[in-house]
Symmetry: C4
């Protein structure tokens, strides 16, 4: 039993790169299943395909959920091999509440929830939009891929380091959005009451303009509104430049850091200060 | 009385982080009131909500203005505790004319102005667009949040350092806008006289194109106009890249500065000067 | 006479900052005249304003051209004071063919050309679009402002340093434009022959997409066309990121250079190598 | 014969800059022929021009393919002069499978394929869209220009160095696209079933929004859909900022490298190692 447990751990644990020969194939297999499962959700959203291939979609879903459930249970079971310094239950608890495990749970929970609701005769609820949302939650499986990609974690790390500045930028964008909506409401409400009925509806125009998407469903038609819109669009360019500048500087910094750390370590080795006194004759040595 | 004054100061002064236990809650409370007050303005802009909940909006506004007025008076009263080396009146004067206090004043002034106008029977003026603008001025309360955010001040500082380059970029964008409007006017006026009636109306097309918003309400239809528009759009991309590059370099520089200063200080310590005296004959050595 | 010439030179020469008390006012006056003159051209493009205020526009134009002509002649006359090591005619020649002087000439030439054409009875030509273009050429006066702005020259310098990379980026954008036009032509021609009649007309769609302007007058409607358009739009984002990255790195580099040059100069002073032999006892000195 | 082979090699080899006087003209000639050939394809796509000038287009195509074929054969023949340490056939093999030679082959293959298909009486196939695609493949000749531009190779190199991060960014964009399509499908399907019929069709909206192109053919109209769209557009701005930041940091790094290497070499020279022997007693010193 213990050997089987070790086998399961070595096969499933994605950080065990050099280990078991089955480790990599199983990882790739799960990634492929995630991808296929997401593609299935995408195509099942089409009414025609959903009706025609209903059985196939359902069978594949049962298969995918079975595998993901086994994976989840296997990881939970071998959690004490991963966190060796914790007791059995502490290890499982730590695993269950880790972000990646929560994502794993979210990836299978909708299926069981649907099953449970059907078992309790809640068929009526399932015919509504609620079912659709439940089915789309399967797309969260995409985040399971996080586990297998190191570069992704790297970028996430860089972005997270600049989190605070990003939030402040978002906050400034928020202020600009509110003020520009209020200004455009003042300028355009009388002429286009259907497009700018109030400030919060005008936000739709503001966000389409500041992100430079510009669908063209709402735009100012009065001279004053156009002048305001022009200035807001130019300001928006500046605000969009902010996150780019912040991220760029963070990447520059990140690229420099490892080098400088290495340099510092090399320096430390060199810093072994040269002798001050000759160990043989005892005289002070010049440097 | 003096103890109460100190209490008010410690509670209100946002730089007194480690001080009074009420300092932080009061700060958060004022921030929440600002947010609620802005949300109220946004929803009051809706004719239906404004009519239905008129009393509630008014009551909340009176409450918010009361708090903001007390805050303003409290800060003014305790100004001599903040600027300790100034006399009482000098401290109040310095507070009143500080940017943050002016914003605080702007946040409450519209309410009192409206009150004053109503008292003098100027009801007629208040029924017009003037009232709407006055009410929207309450949105300036958003800038009161400045006081509570250090990261915001940081970004503002970086942007301000690059102010001059930004202005020059804006100036270049301005020239590009005018020239492209003139060119498009020449190319399209004869075919679309309603869209490009003159150069200053054509500016609307230019700004929608150069900021890449592209609503689609105005666009060239002649081959010549399209070729010009394509070149202008490409040039616009370059001009939009300028502020991004400038901000990015500024952030990089800002991140590097502390490090480089430290390095220079370390270097100075290593700059162990060459020998001053010959270790053999003991005479002073020239350099 | 010579004193008057020196006076004209000191008043007009924009590099003579600390000199004559009239130097700055005259510079500001010319800048204001340029701005007013450009604004006049912009408003004269409006048929109504042009008809109503015809006399005023003409009078102002005569005034502006008179001033600009006097300025040009003054600069030419005092060219030998600017280029002191050249003979009189060499100095004038060098001035006349300098870029800034050519811009100055372009700013006044259209007026005299129009006058000359009218004198020779070519009234007929002047009623056509040719006249409009001639009038718009007055907008080139904007570039006269170059003379008075140092920061602008700085940015122009940075952009010029990255010229080669910019051209290559433009070249890559060009290839992407041609290929995407050809692809969209293949995908959409059969369904929308009026929107994608041939490759060069499809370029209009390509440029609106890659610059992310997206007017919405032309867009793919077939599934294949939409997939292609999606990939092209994503690639376009990458290509737009290139000039931004290049400019950002150039600004970073520029900000670092002055510092590093200074450092190098300081190093040179330090590099005065310490003595190798004691000048008194002749023994080799340790370092 | 051998002298003729050397002559061909010196004339064709683009890395032989300082060599044969005909080298540069021939290179420029081939580049001009590529450009003309691409322009011909672009204009031939116009039905009218294609019908009217059919003979001219065909004649020019035969001429261009002849030159490109001779160039290809010449390069293959002289491959053993380029790769001097390889045998004749090894050199040819290495040339044929080099990326640039494959592009050269792709540039002429469509013509011969069309010829072969016509010879075998497959005229029927040639009347279809297949012919059009075959003809457009001639546009791949644009990539032949790679050979003649060093700066292009530089930028390609920088982009390639950041390949992995770019792929991860693209992957994140992909996840965002899928999730936002699913969300918009949920929010808008009931109201606009023709615009958001299923998730994969909703991708068209997602990509137009995240790249900020915003044609305006599809956009949300429900409040929920607009709120989602706003948040997605803002997130899209962030994701677009990522490649810019990555490229900018890479260019910064690239610009810095040469300098820092030089610095390191200078440092090495300064790293005059501490004394090896005591200058007083002459014994070897330990470090």
């Amino acid at each position: 039993m213990k050997r089987f447990k070790t086998f399961v751990f070595q096969v499933l644990d994605e950080e065990d790169d050099a280990g078991h020969p089955l480790n990599k194939p199983v990882g790739l297999g799960i990634m492929a299943l995630i991808a296929l499962s997401v593609i299935a959700v995408i195509f099942e959203s089409d009414q025609y395909l959903s009706d025609t291939f209903h059985r196939w979609f359902y069978a594949f879903e049962v298969f995918a959920v079975t595998i993901f459930t086994l994976e989840y249970l296997g990881r939970a079971w071998t959690a004490d091999l991963k966190f060796k310094d914790l007791s059995r239950w502490q290890a499982i608890r730590r695993f269950v509440f880790s972000p990646l495990a929560l994502i794993d749970l979210l990836a299978i929970a909708p299926f069981y929830l649907e099953l449970a609701l059907m078992a309790y005769g809640a068929q009526k609820i399932l015919d509504t939009r609620f079912l659709r949302v439940l089915r789309l939650m399967r797309l969260l499986r995409l985040f399971k891929l996080n586990r297998y990609n190191q570069s992704l974690r790297l970028i996430v790390k860089v972005v997270r380091d600049e989190r605070e500045k990003m939030v402040v930028t978002l906050f400034m964008v928020g202020i600009l959005l509110v003020l520009s909506s209020a200004l455009m409401f003042t300028a355009e409400h009388d002429v286009q009451p259907d497009k700018f009925p109030n400030i919060y509806t005008s936000l739709w125009w503001s966000i389409a303009t500041i992100t430079t998407v510009g669908y063209g469903d709402v735009y100012p038609i009065t001279p004053g509104g156009k002048i305001l819109a022009g200035m807001i669009a130019l300001l928006g360019i500046g605000l969009v430049a902010l996150p780019t500048g912040i991220l760029a500087s963070s990447f520059v910094n990140y690229l420099k850091d490892p080098g400088s750390q290495k340099e510092q370590e090399e320096k430390k080795e060199e810093e072994k200060p040269p002798l001050d006194f000759c160990p043989y004759c005892g005289k002070k040595l010049p440097h």
